[in-house]
Amino acid sequence: MKFQALMSSIIAIILGLFFGLLIMIIANPLTAFPGFITMIGGWLNNESLRRLGDLIFLAGPLILTGLSVGFAFKTGLFNIGATGQYTMGMFAGIFVGIYGDFLGPLQWIFAFIAAMIFGGLWGLIPGILKSYFNVHEVIASIMLNYIAMYTVNVWIQGDESLFNVAFSKTRAIDLNAYIPTTFLRDIFDRSAIDFGIILAIGFSILIYFILYKTKFGFELQAVGSNRFAAKYSGIKENRSVILSMVVAGALSGAAGALYFLGKGSIDSGNQYSVGNELMSAGFDGIAVALLGQSHPFGIVLSAFFISFIQRGGYFMQTLGIKVEIIDVIIAAIIYTSAMAMLVKDTIIKWLKGGKKK
């Protein structure tokens, strides 16, 4: 079963990449092949350790937003609000990261926890709306994405200590607020990598444990599979829906902290540019969750892959290829992976048939 799931994702990836290559050929046949090779790994040729470290750093937030969406999927909810929760988490992280200097070396931990709380609260709202007022979580979450963005923009712009007017960005957080990097940076040639990746993988193990080993997870999944039967068996379905959204929100909030509490590759940290566009991180989480088939460990693998291909797209720009091609490829992969799930049996038969020859 697990092998089949993995195979169907891999086939989806191959088909998606092929589709992307096709688009690139149509756009510009001359740069298509070199660009493609850069994308699927060529970019690691130079400064490879450093680039690998960046890839790993960027995979961390993707794992967490992927877990957020995937966890909600498993419990029957579609958390399209990951972006809003991520934004809220980012704000809380930066706020504690700037105001919390009295916390000393524990500052980053508190910033991280604050981000989870804010994200969780932002998940709580659609959870309550769904449980008690029958408002679909997708509608509520989409609205809340914008509310989060504009609210955070107002909060940041209204506070001189947070906002650097000259650059229209948030100010750098305190040194104690950065997620520790210690020896990792030395190994990876001063890249952006930090212990966030360990946290992210830790969360995926935790979510796996909650979903498959605890009574709580069993209840959440029962509500997700059949809320009527869950109610009949005595599970409080409203409570389950709310808690599930809170957990999902907290994970997205943590993702916001993971990125913005990162030291960055040139020790300047990652700042939030105040603007009127939703951050794509939450939506990337949907792609990660779909490709990882909502399994906590599948999500880790797919987050690494998405991070890999996104970095590839970044370096592809040196050849004059638009970075947006990556979004096209990711979209194509999502489509093919949805189809691959449908035609899984056919593909498996085809694979087995191939072996016999």
Partner: protein
């Protein structure tokens, strides 16, 4: 009075319709004369709706013919039916909620003025029709804003607007209030006066007696006779409807009745949509060691009553006592843990999580208790042990044992799995709703014997069933529910199917 010798406008000759595993209509003959109200009577599953769906072109029969004025016609779909002047009001109305009454009537048959719909002409015509047939409607109101009774009148106008003269009504009174039923009866008589021919499906005897000219009775897919309503009476009809077959007796020891385990006191539940009292100031109690059968025609409040007892619905007023404790406002889990087992009516919707493996369904009422969980961690080994023990004990068969996807089990085995789980919960009170619906004879026998074993062990059992035979066979006491009220309490030895059938149709209540 219609002419007895008149040639029928529609005759259905030797209609046979077979669904997988069941003959829904077996060589049925039916004729409808012009200007007649012809009632079709029968229990649930007798084949009434199937027969009418054949006439309306929704089903194609395996054999048989439909004739109009003596010549054979082919009805392949509802459009054909419409062409032959046949219209149907379904039990669940087919109306667009957000459209106006006018647009609903026009839909599919719009009078065109170039590319535009000519609503003016249509409106005039519809108002004229509604006056002619005394069907009061508000043509400009939206469907979602009008009463169920008016929605039904819209459905009738839809047929009249299409110039249908053979009108089929599928259980038209099921959704109406008593006043609306009165109104409908008047409408039916008016339609008849205007020369329409009506087929009227019902299992309520008083309505049939009040409005029909003739009645055809179906039982288990066969026609058991057509009678002149004037020449028959409710008890004769109910006799025909349920049949006289003597039910197969099973060895049942005499009841060893103990104290009261479940008590329902003056409970009322209002339908959230219609605000009608679906369960209406209802009271009864069940004691240890007895099976109480709750008989009734579908939709008389028994489903809601079961959900109220289980805690899935909250009553509007009244109290529920389980083992002497007031559980009216307690959660489902509290009731389960205190001692309530529930075999739900809809086993796919409520009884099972179909996409989970079987063992997870078998532990569904116990997973939260020790030893099936410790400090919030599930004890999978215990779950598997329980699952294996239960499928062995209750002979639940499946492809991959307890790891089978529950969806892959047959209906009978799914029900056995639910029964295994509920019996295993060792609760003092068991709520068994439609215990054997849709199951084959073998599974039914097995399940019945399991229920009787429970009774011998001193459990209090409420058996809610649409099957009179089942009720008579298993119950120590029979309650009859009609329109949300208990209308009779009977002892199986001192009563008959006919008598119960009469109460079920509200026969003696009116």
């Amino acid at each position: 009075m219609i002419d007895q010798t008149l040639e029928p406008i529609i005759s259905m000759v030797n209609i046979t319709k077979i669904f997988p595993g069941i003959v829904a209509n077996d060589q049925i003959n039916l004729d409808l004369k012009k200007g007649e109200i012809h009632a079709l009577l029968g229990e649930n599953g007798a084949g009434k709706s199937t027969l009418m769906s054949v006439l309306f072109g929704l089903y194609t029969p395996e054999s048989g013919q439909i004739k109009k004025y003596g010549s054979v016609i082919k009805i392949k779909d509802p459009n054909d039916a419409n062409r032959y002047g046949i219209g149907m009001v379904h039990q669940h109305f087919k109306l667009v909620e957000v459209f106006t009454v006018l647009d609903n009537i026009l839909l599919g048959n719009e009078p065109m003025q170039g590319p535009f719909i000519d609503r003016k002409i249509a409106k005039k015509e519809i108002i004229q029709l509604s006056n002619q047939y005394k069907l009061s409607i508000d043509v400009d109101a939206k469907i979602e804003d009008i009463s169920v009774g008016m929605q039904q009148r819209v459905e009738i106008l839809k047929m009249l607007y299409r110039k249908n003269d053979i009108l089929i009504f599928d259980e038209p009174t099921a959704v109406l209030t008593p006043q609306e039923i009165e109104e409908l009866m008047k409408i039916l008589r008016n339609l008849k006066k205007e020369g329409k021919s009506i087929l009227f499906i019902s299992h309520k005897l008083n309505e049939i007696m009040a409005v029909s000219d003739r009645v055809t009775v179906l039982r288990k897919g066969k026609s058991v006779g057509t009678l002149w309503t004037k020449e028959t009476n409710p008890s004769a009809l109910s006799n025909l409807m349920v049949g006289r077959d003597i039910s197969f007796e099973i060895n049942k020891s005499s009841a060893k009745i103990g104290e009261t385990s479940l008590e329902i006191k003056d409970i009322t539940y209002l339908s959230p949509r219609t605000k009608k009292a679906v369960v209406n100031h209802l009271s009864f109690s069940i004691r240890k060691g007895e099976i109480v059968g709750l008989a009734g025609i579908e939709g008389n409040g028994q489903s809601e009553l079961a959900h109220l007892i289980a805690g899935l619905l909250q009553p509007h007023s009244g109290k529920i006592f389980l083992k002497g404790k007031d559980v009216t406002h307690q959660s489902v889990r509290y009731r389960n843990d205190l001692g309530l087992a529930h075999i739900p009516e809809d086993r796919h919707k409520y009884g099972l999580i179909l996409d989970n493996p079987l063992y997870q369904n078998l532990v569904l009422k116990k997973y939260h208790r020790s030893p099936f969980q410790k400090n919030g961690i599930i004890q999978k080994r215990k779950w598997l042990q329980l699952g294996n023990a239960l499928i062995q004990k209750f002979d639940v068969r499946s492809g991959k044992g307890i790891h089978s996807l529950t969806r892959s089990l047959s209906g009978g085995n799914q029900q056995k799995a639910i029964i295994a789980r509920e019996i295993d919960s060792n609760a003092d009170v068991m709520l068994a709703v439609q215990l054997t619906r849709g199951l084959d004879v073998g599974a039914i026998e097995y399940i019945h014997s399991q229920i009787l074993t429970q009774r011998e062990q001193g459990k209090a059992i409420l058996l809610v069933s649409l099957e009179l035979e089942e009720i008579l066979k298993l119950s120590d006491r029979i309650l009859v529910i009609f329109e949300g009220k208990i209308v009779a309490e009977l002892l199986p030895k001192e009563t008959s199917k006919e008598a119960i059938g009469l109460f079920m149709s509200g026969g003696k209540a009116s």
